[in-house]
């Protein structure tokens, strides 16, 4: 009788063991997934190179970094003292003492006697003091004379040399006329998303925001269309010529046959790109070919501007942005440096959500404006009489 009972118990134990095994696998999978997705904050420089990648802790919507991040990002010779009972942290860096109290937003900086209120207070996690990302965003510009841009979606923090447009540069930029070309318009709505959002409207809205932002930098900017009207390529180019444009930026939204394709793309008009025109053409097209070749004379400057856009916009994207050379009709008779910027794929749900997000489009406008500044500075340096000869 006892043996029968033991057998019953053993028979019952087998499925319990199987169940337990599955549970273990499930728990292990969840743990591994958690480890694989352990968040980090990536600090990058103005050119997009990684300065440091630091493991971070997420609490709610806030991101916290260990004290070690100060050494890696602000000052390798920085030291710190932490008073556990009082939960006070003192950081010594660059001849300054920064005093923080865990759970309090106010910090003091000696010997300057400055006080600063952090957007998020520092906290302790596992009895260790942790600094919010805002600490770096707010403190770095004060300590290192840099500007900091934070991409909260990608946990990416860019540190760039602080530079403002000096009056001299502003004078130079007064000569610059940027042509922003919102693609399509009127009955030509361009691409359309499955939710009914039209390319022509998305690019016009962004173009107007960009116009406003570029004007604030003291740079002239003209749109090829201000309303929902159809313009031919010829009309757009005429507007660029009439306004003595020196740079042509055509804004579009992309589409692909796969809903998985996503991201920003930059296109250059190059008749010898991935798809190319033959070297010789039939006589009827000689005139047109000459025009195409004339546009190609601006290819180097177009590449410079495309690279400036790529550097600035890479900050907003998970994967590096591609620059693609192909013969483009929109830029074929544009006799100035010119680029087509495809802001995202209307055929991709993620991109569509981004393009519907005002915060994201504002960051795109900022990135394009920075790219313009970068490009103009580069060209001004090259044309400056004091520029070193190559």
């Amino acid at each position: 009788m006892q043996k029968i009972q033991e057998r019953c118990v053993n028979r019952d134990a087998v499925p319990v063991k199987i169940g337990a095994l599955f549970l273990c696998i499930l728990v292990l999978a969840i743990t591994l997934k958690g480890i694989a997705q352990a968040p980090t904050v990536r600090f990058i420089d103005a050119d997009g190179k990684i300065i440091a990648e630091i493991p971070a802790h997420h609490q709610g919507e806030q991101v916290y970094l260990p004290i070690d991040a100060v050494k890696q990002v602000i000052d390798p010779r920085a030291t710190h003292q932490y008073n556990h009972p009082r939960k006070r942290l003192t950081l010594k860096t660059k001849g300054r003492q920064i005093r923080l109290q865990m759970g309090k937003s106010a910090i003091s900086i000696e010997p300057d006697g400055q006080t600063l209120t952090l957007a998020t207070p520092p906290i302790t996690i596992a009895q260790q003091p942790m600094l919010p990302v805002n600490f770096f965003i707010q403190l770095l510009p004060m300590l290192n004379n840099v500007e900091v841009i934070y991409n909260s979606n990608l946990n990416r923090l860019q540190i760039r040399p602080k530079r403002t447009w000096t009056p001299a540069e502003t004078n130079n930029t007064q000569n610059w006329a940027i042509i922003v070309d919102p693609g399509h318009g009127g009955p030509d709505h361009g691409g359309a998303s499955s939710t009914g959002r039209l390319e022509k409207n998305i690019v016009l809205t962004l173009a107007k925001q960009l116009q406003e932002r570029i004007k604030q930098q003291g740079i002239q900017v003209h749109l090829t269309r201000e309303t929902d009207t159809q313009k031919t390529h010829f009309e757009r180019i005429q507007i660029a010529k009439q306004n003595q444009g020196q740079l042509f930026l055509s804004l579009h939204c992309n589409a692909s046959f796969s809903p998985h394709e996503k991201g920003i793309r930059i296109y250059l008009n190059n008749p010898k790109g991935r798809i190319r025109f033959p070297n010789t053409t039939k006589p009827a097209l000689i005139g047109q070919q000459l025009k195409v070749l004339a546009q190609v004379n601006f290819l180097k400057q177009s590449q410079d501007f495309a690279q400036a856009l790529q550097t600035e916009l890479n900050f907003l994207t998970e994967t590096p942005i591609q620059i693609i050379d192909i013969p483009l009709i929109a830029l074929s008779e544009t006799y100035m440096p010119a680029v087509v910027l495809e802001l995202g794929y209307l055929s991709n749900f993620e991109d569509l959500e981004k393009l519907s997000n005002a915060e994201y489009t504002a960051s795109v406008v900022e990135a394009i404006t920075r790219a313009l500044q970068r490009y103009i500075s580069f060209i001004n340096q090259q044309t400056s009489p004091t520029a070193p000869e190559e």
């Binding site: 199987i18 030509d188 359309a192 579009h252 589409a255 796969s258 296109y267 798809i275 013969p327 009709i329």
Partner: protein
Amino acid sequence: MKHNNSAGFSRLLVIWGITLVVVAICLGGTLLLIERSKLTAIPVAPPPLPTAANPSDTPPPPQEVNLFLLDATTLTLVPIKIERRLHTNDLTKRLNQVVTALIQETPPNFRNTIPRGTELHEVYIDNQQTAYLDFSSHLTDGHIGGTTAEFLTVTAILKTIFDAFPDHIKQVQILIDGEEIKTIAGHLNLSQPLRLTQ
């Protein structure tokens, strides 16, 4: 009573375990089938034989042709082998057959980059080895737009033709309803014959 509860719980665990195993096997099997389908050439029934002018003419043997289609996973154009009985003597007819096959084929896991419903009216090859492909206006009207999509449409056509006729066709010009066009969807310049940069 306790024993009954324990037995019920164990039964539940067994059912749960078996369900998980079955789901895992089904998932694995599906993935295996998907992978296999990518590797296998698409079995396509050869089209009706070309009408023989002379009843004594033997039908041409089936030939392998690569059609360039968009791999939905890798997002690249990949060659997919199909079999066709191509006209042996007439280059223009062979070109027509290959481009028509490119328009029609959409195997699982691949995307055709030519809008469904597009027709090929005619093809012509000049003495400069330029192939002129005259499509119906649905190629432009039915196109989804976007530089990437337009680039994929044109590249798929060019790659398929240059792969099938490496010695006979050097460049391709796309026409719509017999007319030269500047572009399909407003981005790529198609005003001249096109080649591919290797």
